[in-house]
Symmetry: D2
Subunit: 284 residues, 4 copies
């Protein structure tokens, strides 16, 4: 039974790069630095079948060369945003190698904030990770998707869950007052690669957080939808947004001695199993 | 700018279940047990839009109920394989809830082996994780995909990489003797849900490992293709197979004092960055 | 050859608890909450030998009971700080069980910050983890140690490393301008259990960060010492402080095409191997 | 308030090295290789105060040099065991640098097994990690401790826990039939650095596993003690052994529909919280 190679891709993952930007130069100890760090995945598709089927490597840009390329491009690119750097990387591979038909770049930023207004000291204490993906197919416009991972938010009241499906496999009671906690992942696809990525990012995240706060939540589903819809409203540059809100459960603790009341005060925190809720909203 | 809910799904992830099977019963301390453990993700799609858009939970089978269901089904299902249990779970949700249009079940097994031929003592020392995914869409046949994760294999010779694309971004020299090491992930889609999953699994894995050993590797790409093609040949029940072989680099160490030779003896082991090579083979 | 049980301890680890505090009460949706979360390890020593040597469990407070106890105590304790809650837990076990001779409690806080000045919405985006350990030995004063983990800081200049030991195993050149980055762990033992833990914590961390910024670093060792000494100076309640500063290397990238200059602009970020530097400073 | 540097140490952690040994040499594709891999931590103590207190680096053997040293020594050392290589490393630092007073080397092996009797193909599928620590203080004999981590074992019956301390904080019932599962860590200190480390390791582990199987367990404590005592009996070269047996709970699942019996068949597997039991046995 003969087989065929129906898909292949390859590249280098976890190319971790940092860059010192020097927008205002001065004497060594007063020069004002900016410090950016990202992990970059590069994947290539194209005319690479012979490497798989025939051990013919002539068209293969080595994954080591992909790595070299990321560092080389980081020298001249200002790394203003991970999205813009992703575009630089994707355009390089499509521009330089005629046999590459598609380049996919995924980036995760490790955010450094200025420390104590020092010109060159930084602290990285934000657990939220900005992400971006750029997919550039030869002859097409680049598709840029921005995102965040590990955004952990909670409401300690103004959240309930009632009137859900009832059958003999259900044991969870209705509740009109519970903790809603989630470690949110968001991804928003930009309508165009000319977007102002940083501004859009700030608008999307700030809008979602404000929406998270402002209502009584009847379910994770409802809150997710309100947040996603608000982000689409606030950021016209966004074509589509996907939110994933795993429920990080804080369960009412059963207190000892037996009969001790727990009036929504003390909770058992668990990582697994966890409720998983995900939805995509697009413009009409 | 109005928006629409273009996709949604929800469920419970990381439902971790273990089961004692008692195929040969006897006195308490001689009864011969089998011990199986898996982590199960359940995701549902269907008529759930009102929960997102209107806070109407009436159709929502709570994720807590999904969890209850996994344990309830584990009582009567023999858990022969994670694939067969995944089918049981998916069929339950499609059969019981008319408004569920698709159920996706992902499972990872934590393998317990018998210890010292004891009837009831076990050891879990295999780092390889069997996986399975069952997708059941109402009105269609179930699609079952089996797999393995974390299968770490290496060749200390009989592997090279030469004649790959040369330009001024390339610094890696040609080599005809290097270490090839990878932490392989494989996924094979079965042509039918009636397959003998355990036998197919053994055939696919054993065949791939035998193929890994038997040739001089001109690239990860070539070796991946040989292994995937051999698996398709050996297992007619498999319709398609995807292998991902991240290159876990063992780089020749530069030895001190300066000038000390390193004749392929001592290597620096690194986790990142890593070469990423993936391909899918289907039957013609 | 007979053996003896020379040491034993047991308890429950990773008891994860959250608590809603209601310092200012009001209507359900305006009541101002505070939200605290911690993971608690409890370990007991005492007259437990018979459980090990003779299967006699009568003195064993089950680890499940230890867990129940943490939740029970979290109801009445205000959880002002992890240190004060650790004292509550340790004193409970010593006070209630005469055969317990020592109780060790370790706590890690998961910090929730108020979101958008909401009375009941929170965000947990600080990757730094406050830690505490309370050791209470029967008849002695409690020993309280506070700390932080995962405090990642960097200087992009004003850091060098020169004139270190030179021999033929050394290949690292002298440098007067490098990135110094570390993921710091700090632990400070309080002179007394009556300390104002929150104020001391703020003083120690703020002082260390200010000291990190203010000097040219001749080595991680020197900077670590300056930071620890400054913390001892600023916080008289601290008897001893230990800092561990693993060097998270940002190595100057070798750029392609060959010959491209890299004037301290682009760096390769690596997690391993990493330099490990640790020291303890005590009062004279 | 003046302070003093009461302790310091530094070194390189996570130096990951692999080595091809060629005990039987032949033609390239028939030469029989052995393949070993380890991660090595090196820590030095000695006359290093001036680096901390005065920015004087002259005595500092750079952590980069420590790394170079591990690779250099891996060339000539046969890497028979991680213990013997740890001794080589420790002796090198004490022998070469007069101002180093103590060298501590910690090693974790990543075990490669021969695959399909190939002379040069290997698989690393054992999740158990052999460990070793060598501490060499100038003028003293080296102290060698061997160990294993992540040895996951379970008994599905022949384990109970009854008659433990009863009070109103206890909710766990007595049980005479439960699952006992643990991810064991063991460390055994050798009486002498001349021990046959590999043989001792095999004896200790095999003996403990055999003992784990052969009895009705009245508690984790009792089983831990029986296993440790058996290891001391079987391996005269061992002076002291410490076992840590975190209880990886498999809790009887409460089945739906309400009232469904669960006759020790289906269990909820949890990682946290977990019971923690540890003890050290020494020779009389």
């Amino acid at each position: 039974m003969p087989s065929r190679l129906s898909h292949n891709s390859y590249g280098k993952h976890r190319v971790r790069v940092s860059k010192i930007r020097r927008p205002r130069q001065g004497a060594p100890n007063t020069e004002r630095h900016e410090f950016v760090e990202a992990a970059v995945d590069v994947e290539l598709e194209g005319d690479f079948d012979a490497a798989f089927t025939n051990g013919d490597n002539r068209s293969v840009v080595a994954t080591d060369t992909c790595k070299n390329t990321v560092y080389a491009l980081a020298k001249d690119d200002p790394l203003e945003t991970i999205e813009s750097f992703g575009l630089t990387v994707a355009r390089h591979f499509i521009g330089r190698y005629e046999h590459v038909s598609r380049c996919r770049v995924r980036l995760t930023e490790h955010v450094w904030e200025r420390l104590a207004d020092s010109p060159h000291a930084f602290v990285a204490r934000d657990s939220v990770e900005p992400t971006a993906e750029v997919v550039l197919t030869r002859g097409a416009e680049p598709v840029v998707t921005s995102g965040v991972e590990k955004l952990m938010i909670a409401k300690t009241t103004e959240s309930g869950f009632v009137d859900f499906h009832r059958d003999d496999f259900r044991t969870l009671p209705d509740t009109e007052d519970r903790i809603l906690a989630t470690e949110m992942t968001a991804e928003w696809r930009l309508a165009s690669a000319d977007a102002d990525f940083a501004t859009v990012r700030k608008t999307v995240v700030d809008t979602m957080l404000a929406r998270f706060v402002d209502h009584y939540s009847r379910s994770v589903q409802e809150t997710l939808h309100l947040m996603a819809a608000a982000a689409l409203d606030a950021a016209p540059a966004v074509a589509e947004i996907t939110l994933t809100m795993p429920n990080k459960h804080h369960l009412l603790a059963k207190l000892v001695p037996e009969g001790t009341a727990n009036d929504n005060e003390v909770f058992v925190v668990t990582d697994e199993p966890f409720g998983y809720i995900s939805a995509t909203l697009a413009r009409e």
